[in-house]
């Protein structure tokens, strides 16, 4: 079945334009607060360990998603990891071409489940899966308790 009439006026209204007027402030949560304030104040990357499953996860969570225990020990996972996978962005979020391509990757840390997605500060042709990288932090006074307190991961 179809409508019984169709407009034959090419000029007639066909769309109505609008946007989503709202902005957001997200609290980083109980686990996020500890992770980001430690990153900011002490320059350390923390993971959280499940007292039952004995696994350390990054980013740290308040609870273990497998057994629902509250996380026990919080441990410094260090700054060195390996590139698990990566992509080379040629366009920005709005689809605009970038002057220089940016490499984004998933960085995994030894004996830690999970990892961090971040910028890999290296020429695209030099980046390889499995390569060692190290977090480069911003200077203390520029850090605000954000994932961008890590400037990038550099080949190491």
């Amino acid at each position: 079945m179809t409508f019984l009439e169709r407009s034959r006026e090419p000029e007639a209204h066909k769309h109505w334009y609008g946007d989503m007027e709202a902005s957001y402030v997200y609290s980083t949560g109980i686990a996020g607060e500890r992770f980001f304030s430690t990153l900011r104040d002490k320059g350390k990357i923390l993971g959280a360990t499940c007292p039952k499953c004995k696994k350390t996860v990054l980013p740290p969570r308040m609870y273990c998603e497998v057994c629902f225990s509250e996380m026990g020990d919080w441990v410094d996972v260090g700054k060195e990891g390996r590139v698990d996978t990566f992509s080379i962005a040629q366009v920005g979020v709005g689809g605009e071409p970038l002057e220089e391509p940016v490499v984004y990757g998933l960085i995994r840390f030894p004996k830690v489940e999970g990892g961090l997605v971040h910028i890999i500060a290296a020429k695209p042709e030099k980046v390889k899966i499995g390569m060692k990288v190290k977090a480069k932090l911003r200077p203390r006074k520029e850090r605000s308790g954000s994932i961008l307190d890590i400037e990038s991961f550099k080949p190491h």
Partner: protein
């Protein structure tokens, strides 16, 4: 259909801004419900999550974001969404998981984090209107409720003070709820009538506040419930119904869709005289007039007569038919979907005599709860009986 039980409930504080992320709140509430049921996440077969518009949390695909806190990782999992109706529709979805025989132990989690949205959660509500007909008029969501309230009051000649009495009852009831955001043991009708006019006839104290919060239930088969718990409430009936899209073309005086949902649930529960056979009710009360509207929709009184029930003392905790003994959304708070904790959760605690200071005095055997949602058009109804 298999029998379905509720054997545990939990909820976080309801508060304007909680530090926890949405998933952290989910985990807190879910852990409480599991503890009460004496189960662990490993025992759970399936998980159902409910949350209202993504635009509040500001995370699209909220169901995906919240799933690990809800215990859904690597399990059969779904998110349901019927606006405010989600609060009672989520356990209805869990009920059909078990009634169908598909699952025996289901974890039910509801969440809302409205504090993320700026300048006000109203900004997100703005996006639920029709973009062509309504949004160019720059509406505030309170408007439609104000319009519905005005039509309801005018149609039956109801006085504002008789509606304000509902807000007073619920905010006073909330003084006994440990999670309450806006309890007030001493509030009076004059306080409500003298509060700031937001959109006439709606005044500040006629409205529930925006809140952060989460709640959870554990629902199981008969076999699991009897093995696991002495505190059982059976889900006896479920119903849901929605009114038409064009809200300006609806009857704003009587919520027929709630009545249809209620009739479906009552038929299933073999209730033919709800006024006699229901002993406690938790209708959705985001505004004081909505409690009246929904009490009428749930067929617990004649049309236009709900305000009289409170005037006559029937709806208080020591009355014949206590309504919103939890303190409701008006007193405890309104984290949309998470109000499951003060609707279904409260009914569970009332029917199993665990409500403490909030316990109603008429030794209730059967209760009904209801939520209301989408663009003021959706009714979800659940009837429970004590085990």
């Amino acid at each position: 259909m298999n029998k379905v039980a509720c054997i545990g409930a939990g909820m976080t504080l309801f508060w304007r801004r909680l530090q926890e992320t949405g998933k952290e709140m989910c985990w807190e509430a879910a852990s409480m419900a599991l503890d009460q049921a004496g189960l662990t996440l490993k025992d759970i077969d399936m998980v159902v999550l409910g949350s209202a518009p993504d635009a509040f949390d500001g995370i699209h695909m909220k169901g995906e974001n919240l799933l690990d806190g809800a215990g859904g990782a690597k399990k059969p999992y779904m998110r349901v969404f019927t606006g405010g109706g989600t609060a009672v529709f989520t356990p209805i979805a869990a009920w059909w998981h078990i009634a169908s025989g598909l699952a025996e132990k289901v974890l039910v989690v509801c969440e809302e984090k409205m504090s993320s949205c700026f300048p006000h959660p109203q900004s997100a509500f703005g996006h639920i209107w029709d973009p062509i007909l309504d949004r160019p008029l720059k509406p505030n969501l309170v408007w439609i409720f104000a319009m519905e309230m005005n039509r309801y009051m005018t149609a039956y000649g109801i006085k504002k003070e008789d509606i304000a009495r509902i807000a007073v009852k619920n905010k006073r009831n909330a003084a006994d709820h440990p999670c309450a955001q806006l309890p007030d043991a001493n509030i009076t009708i004059d306080d409500v009538l003298n509060s700031e006019v937001m959109a006439w006839p709606v005044q500040r104290l006629d409205i529930s506040p925006p809140s952060d919060g989460a709640s959870a239930l554990v629902m199981t088969s008969e076999k699991v419930a009897k093995k696991q718990s002495d505190d059982i409430a059976w889900v006896e009936g479920t119903g849901w119904c929605i009114d038409k899209t064009m809200w300006t073309c609806r009857d704003l005086v009587f919520p027929e869709y709630v009545a249809k949902a209620a009739k479906q649930a009552y038929k299933m529960a073999k209730i033919d005289n709800p006024r006699k056979q229901i002993h406690v009710a938790e209708p959705y009360d985001p505004f004081d007039y909505k409690e009246c509207h929904h009490t009428e929709g749930l067929l617990l009184c004649d049309k236009g007569k709900a305000p009289d029930m409170t005037k006559e003392g029937i709806t208080y905790r020591d009355g014949d038919l206590p309504i919103c003994p939890s303190g409701g959304l008006l007193g405890v708070g309104n984290p949309i979907a998470a109000t499951m904790g003060i609707k279904v959760g409260e009914l569970y605690w009332q029917l199993t005599q665990q409500a403490g200071k909030r316990q109603v005095k008429n030794d209730p055997e059967v209760g009904v709860c209801q939520a209301w949602g989408d663009l003021m058009q959706y009714g979800s109804v659940l009837v429970m009986r004590r085990g």
